[in-house]
C-alpha cells in the first residue's frame, strides 16, 4: 500500500541541485511533490515522482546518492480541518510523524499528504479504520 519516495543526498555545493533536476527532467519523469530537509552541510531531497525506479536509475547514473523510502500517502478533502483530523487520529494512537508534506492536485478538490512514520503498516491500518482514503502508486501517476 505504501508509496515510494526518492530520498536524495545533496551536498551543499554548487551545481548539485541542477544535477538532480536535470537527470529527472531528461528521464521524462514528472515530479508530483517534493520536500527538502536541510542542515548546514547537506540536504535531503524527498521526491514523489511518476516512476520512482526509473528516476532512481537516472539519478544514480548521474552520480547521485539515492535511496527509496516507503511513505504513507493519504488523500484528504481540500477544506479546513482535514489535515488536523488525520494528525489527531495518529496522535491518538501514539504514532509519531517524522515529517510530512502536502500538495494539492490540479482538480483543487482534494489535497494529498505524504506522511513519514516509523511503522507504515500500523499507520495505514489505523487510517483506514478511521475512514481516511489512502493513496497508491497508481493514484500518484494519475494525479
Amino acid at each position: 500500500m505504501a508509496i515510494n519516495q526518492l530520498s536524495i543526498f545533496v551536498e551543499n555545493k554548487e551545481g548539485k541541485l541542477v544535477t538532480i533536476t536535470d537527470s529527472i527532467a531528461n528521464a521524462g519523469i514528472d515530479i508530483r511533490a517534493l520536500s527538502v530537509a536541510d542542515t548546514q552541510d547537506f540536504g535531503i531531497f524527498r521526491l514523489i515522482v511518476t516512476d520512482p525506479q526509473k528516476a532512481k536509475e537516472a539519478l544514480e547514473s548521474s552520480g547521485c546518492f539515492v535511496s527509496i523510502t516507503q511513505v504513507v500517502g493519504v488523500s484528504i478533502p481540500d477544506e479546513p480541518g482535514s489535515l488536523a483530523k488525520i494528525v489527531n487520529i495518529l496522535a491518538r494512537y501514539n504514532i509519531n510523524i517524522e515529517y510530512m508534506y502536502a500538495f494539492i492536485a490540479v482538480s483543487g478538490k482534494e489535497a494529498s499528504v505524504v506522511l513519514r512514520v516509523e511503522d507504515n503498516n500500523a499507520a495505514e491500518k489505523i487510517l483506514i479504520e478511521n475512514g481516511v482514503k489512502l493513496l497508491e502508486e497508481k493514484d500518484i501517476i494519475a494525479l
Binding site: E11, A37, T39, D41, S67
Partner: protein
C-alpha cells in the same frame, strides 16, 4: 637594554669552545647509548660503527640516523638508557595507530630542559620580577611543563593556567598583572581577540612579552599578536623526543631561534640522501641530544625543513640560529598545536567501518586553525532523516577526538563521491599555505 642571559657562560661561549664541549659530550653520550640501549647498539652494529670510532663532532656523520618510526617501534622502553628507578617523569606525543612516543626524564634531564626554557624566558626579557602566565596545556604535552619549569628557574611568579577557559585566563592576567604569556600562537591570537571583545585595549594589560610555539605561525601573525596584546612575541621551538620546548628560542632580534648548542648538535641533511649539508643550506633538521640521560637520541630526524645561520647576533649569544620550519619532509600536520598524521585519521575510519577515502581540509580563520574531514558515509547509514546522518558524524568526531586529542568537524558525504586518484591521493588540503604559513 643591556643583554641579559640566564646562563651567560654557556650562551655566549666562543664557537671553538662550543665545538670542543660538543665533541667531549658526544664521545661520552655515544658510549652511554651504545652500552645501555640495545636498539641503538643494533643500529650501530648494523652500520659497523663502534663508540671508539667517534672521537668528536667530526665523526658525527658516521652514526646512524634515528627516526620517529624507530621511536614507535621501541615503545615504550626500547630506547630507555637508564634504570626506570632513575627516571622521574614521562611526556608523550600524540601517536598513530594508538602507539605513542613516550620520552623519559631523569631529574637531570628535567633540570636541563627547564634551564633551556629559562634561557628563552630571559631572552624575552624575563626576570624574577615577572609574572609568567603559562597557558600551554599541562599534562603529557611538554608545552605546559617546560615553560612552567623554566619560569620557576628564572624565579618568575608562575601562573599555571594550562590552556582553555579564556575568561579565567583574562581575569588572572588582569588581576595578577601577568607580564609574560606562554602559549600557542593561535591561542595568543584568540586571547587578543577576546580582550578586544571585552572592550580591553592592549595598554590595559601589563603583558610585555609572549613566548609562543608548538605550531607553525607567520610574521603577519606575530605582528597581529604583538598589536592586539601590546607585547613582543617570541618564537620557541622544541620536540618532545628531545625534551620539549626550548631546544631553540628567539632573542630580541627576532631573527631565527638560537639552538642550545651546549645540549644539542644540529645538522642539516638532504632528506632524500641523508647527506650532510653545509650551514646556510636548506634541508631537514637533525638533532643529537648531548646531555639527556634517560632518553638520549643521536641524529634524530625531525622532518622539519629549515636553514641554519652562524651569522653573529647582536644579542651576544653565540649559539647557531635556525629559521622557523619552512615545511616538513613527511605528511605530519600541526593543527592547533597538535601533531596530526593522516594515518591516524585512516586508522579511526577503518576502526569505525568507513572506507579510508577521505579528505582533510585545514585552514586558519581569525588566527585559529579549522580542521574539517570529509568522509564517505556507509550506504546503510543514509536515511531520509538528517539526524541519522548528523548522529553518525558526532560518533565519528568523538572517535577522532579520542585518537587525535583535538576535535575535527566531520562531514559525511555521499559514498564514492571523493575523487579516487591513481597515484598519491590528495588527502590533505592545507589552505593555511595561502596565508604564507609553512606547514
Amino acid at each position: 637594554m643591556a643583554n641579559r642571559y640566564f646562563q651567560p657562560e654557556q650562551e655566549t661561549m666562543p664557537l671553538e669552545d662550543i665545538q670542543k664541549l660538543q665533541s667531549e659530550k658526544l664521545v661520552k653520550q655515544v658510549k652511554h647509548v651504545y652500552d645501555n640501549v640495545k636498539y641503538y647498539r643494533d643500529l650501530m652494529d648494523a652500520k659497523g660503527v663502534k663508540p671508539e670510532d667517534i672521537h668528536g663532532i667530526e665523526d658525527l656523520h658516521k652514526l646512524p640516523f634515528i627516526k620517529k618510526d624507530d621511536l614507535r617501534e621501541a615503545y615504550p622502553y626500547g630506547l630507555l638508557a637508564t634504570d626506570l628507578s632513575d627516571c622521574v617523569r614521562i611526556h608523550s606525543t600524540s601517536g598513530t595507530t594508538g602507539k605513542r612516543v613516550v620520552a623519559f626524564y631523569t631529574q637531570h634531564d628535567v633540570d636541563m630542559w627547564e634551564e633551556c626554557c629559562a634561557r628563552a624566558i630571559v631572552a624575552a626579557g624575563g626576570d624574577e620580577n615577572d609574572v609568567c602566565q603559562v597557558a600551554y596545556g599541562y599534562g603529557l604535552f611538554t608545552g605546559g611543563a617546560g615553560l612552567h619549569g623554566g619560569s620557576h628557574k628564572v624565579g618568575c611568579l608562575t601562573l599555571p593556567m594550562s590552556s582553555g577557559n579564556t575568561d579565567r585566563q583574562i581575569q588572572f592576567m588582569m588581576d595578577l598583572n601577568a607580564t609574560i604569556l606562554c602559549c600557542t600562537p593561535s591561542y595568543a591570537a584568540y586571547i587578543g581577540e577576546t580582550l578586544k571583545e571585552k572592550g580591553l585595549k592592549p595598554e590595559d594589560n601589563k603583558l610585555k612579552a609572549g613566548i609562543f610555539g608548538a605550531e607553525p605561525w607567520t610574521e603577519e601573525m606575530r605582528h597581529d599578536i604583538e598589536k592586539s596584546l601590546g607585547i613582543k612575541a617570541y618564537d620557541i621551538y622544541g620536540l618532545t623526543e628531545l625534551s620539549g620546548p626550548g631546544v631553540s628560542f628567539e632573542c630580541q632580534e627576532q631573527k631565527g631561534m638560537h639552538i642550545n648548542e651546549d645540549h644539542f648538535i644540529a645538522e642539516i641533511i638532504n632528506p632524500e640522501t641523508g647527506e650532510v649539508l653545509p650551514v646556510g643550506e636548506k634541508g631537514e633538521l637533525v638533532f643529537t641530544s648531548l646531555d639527556k640521560e634517560a632518553f638520549p637520541l643521536l641524529r634524530y630526524r625531525t622532518r622539519d625543513i629549515c636553514v641554519l645561520s652562524r651569522e653573529k647576533c647582536s644579542c651576544g649569544r653565540t649559539f647557531i640560529r635556525m629559521t622557523k620550519p619552512l615545511g616538513r619532509s613527511d605528511d605530519m600536520m600541526i593543527i592547533r598545536g597538535v601533531n596530526v598524521f593522516p594515518s591516524q585519521i585512516e586508522t579511526v575510519l577503518l576502526n569505525c567501518g568507513y572506507t579510508p577515502n577521505y579528505q582533510i581540509i585545514v585552514d586558519r580563520v581569525n588566527n585559529t586553525d579549522t580542521f574539517d574531514i570529509n568522509v564517505e558515509m556507509k550506504e546503510e547509514d543514509f536515511s531520509d532523516i538528517p539526524v541519522g546522518i548528523t548522529n553518525r558524524e558526532k560518533e565519528l568526531q568523538n572517535a577522532m577526538k579520542a585518537m587525535l586529542g583535538i576535535n575535527p568537524k566531520i562531514h559525511l558525504v555521499a559514498p564514492k563521491s571523493i575523487a579516487r586518484s591513481e597515484g598519491k591521493a590528495v588527502r590533505v588540503i592545507d589552505k593555511r599555505k595561502r596565508l604564507g604559513i609553512n606547514v
